[in-house]
């Protein structure tokens, strides 16, 4: 959802402007943004971020040191594990940049009995349609199920409880993302890509998930591996809560840090 006057401006800014160093108006605007950051950041007694990526950005852009304070999910105890069925779930909004299409494409190449469930609402009507057309076009309807609607928290935890692993392949995100964290609370390995941005802060390849190239064949191989090697998949899933503890992703820590003197 974008303000009507934004796209034109951001196109300009994103493409042309960044090469146009001598546009005084835009340069002035950019300067003001950084002056604003300067005021707000320098006044803050403590600065926390939600990821190393954002902390690094603060360091690079604003020369400001900060501490990573990973955001926990709400009521993580509702996530639990019942079984490791040969199903990969991806529970997040159905949007272009979440790249569920890579998963659908991957299902063309899987050789195992793996099934894929995509679940989530969408802001744009066109993306779910695109995904469904793909499923039809490649005759994947017995392998891929798309639930393009609001998923209740209960339904979400139930999907996570019985899958064997969860996929989350956003493009270049700032943080690990709640879907990854939720899967790990449910003792499920996370399948992601090496261009997902923050997910690797939580997921280590081969330990509590798999990190592969963002192409359908590589993803298909990973899905097959998760389904055909259940012991390894289960082990990786069980490492989820260990990793969460290791990073101390907890409300206790958040409250302690944010209410400290």
């Amino acid at each position: 959802m974008v303000h009507p006057s934004l796209p034109r401006y951001y196109d300009l800014w994103g493409t042309q402007y960044c090469g146009l160093e001598d546009n005084a108006k835009n340069r002035a605007f950019r300067k003001r943004i950084f002056a604003t950051d300067e005021v707000g950041l320098s006044e803050s007694a403590r600065i926390f971020t939600n990821s190393k990526i954002v902390s690094n950005r603060l360091k690079n852009f604003n020369s400001i040191d900060s501490e990573v304070l990973y955001p926990p999910v709400f009521q993580s105890e509702r996530f639990h594990c019942e079984s490791y069925d040969p199903v990969i779930v991806c529970i997040c909004r159905l949007e272009d940049h979440k790249r569920q299409h890579l998963l659908v494409d991957a299902m063309r190449y899987t050789k195992s009995k793996a099934k894929l469930v995509l679940a989530g609402a969408s802001h744009s009507g066109s993306y779910p349609r695109k995904l469904k057309l793909k499923v039809l076009k490649y005759c994947l309807s017995n392998k891929v199920k798309i639930l393009d609607r609001w998923i209740s928290e209960e339904e979400k935890s139930q999907l996570l409880a019985t899958c064997c692993a969860a996929a989350y392949l956003p493009f270049d995100e700032d943080s690990y993302g709640y879907p990854s964290l939720e899967a790990q609370h449910a003792c499920k390995a996370v399948l992601t890509t090496n261009d997902s941005g923050g997910v690797p802060e939580l997921v280590t390849h081969g330990v509590n998930g798999l990190i592969v190239d963002p192409n359908p064949k590589a993803i298909a191989e990973a899905i097959d591996q998760l389904v055909t090697n259940p012991q390894k998949t289960r082990d990786m899933g069980q490492n989820g809560p260990v990793r969460i503890n290791e990073l101390d992703i907890s409300w206790d820590r958040v409250i302690r840090k944010l209410t400290a003197a």
Binding site: Y10, I33, V39, F48, N50, R57, S175, V254
Partner: protein, 104 residues
Amino acid sequence: MKVVLASSFVPFIKGGATAIVEWLEAKLVEHGHQVESVFLPFVERPETMMDQLLSYRMLNMTESCDRLIAFRPPAYLLRHPSKFLWFIHHFRATTICGAHNIAA
């Protein structure tokens, strides 16, 4: 303690940035704190951005609470002597343009 959580938002758009505030509010209350959440409007539109920043800067929360926790920019402009920042992301223009152009 009395805590005010402050963030910018666009009305009717829910997402990670609003959820983190709501969850933190619930958890702080569980821990015995008094909490109020404040969401103020902000749209990153260059033509009016300075005016909007002013509207944040003009609000002084000093007497309202013991601790101000700010989230999305420009909530960090609200005035308070004990301001903590949980920084989730920059203004979009910052990151879209890239670091190499910033020094100017």
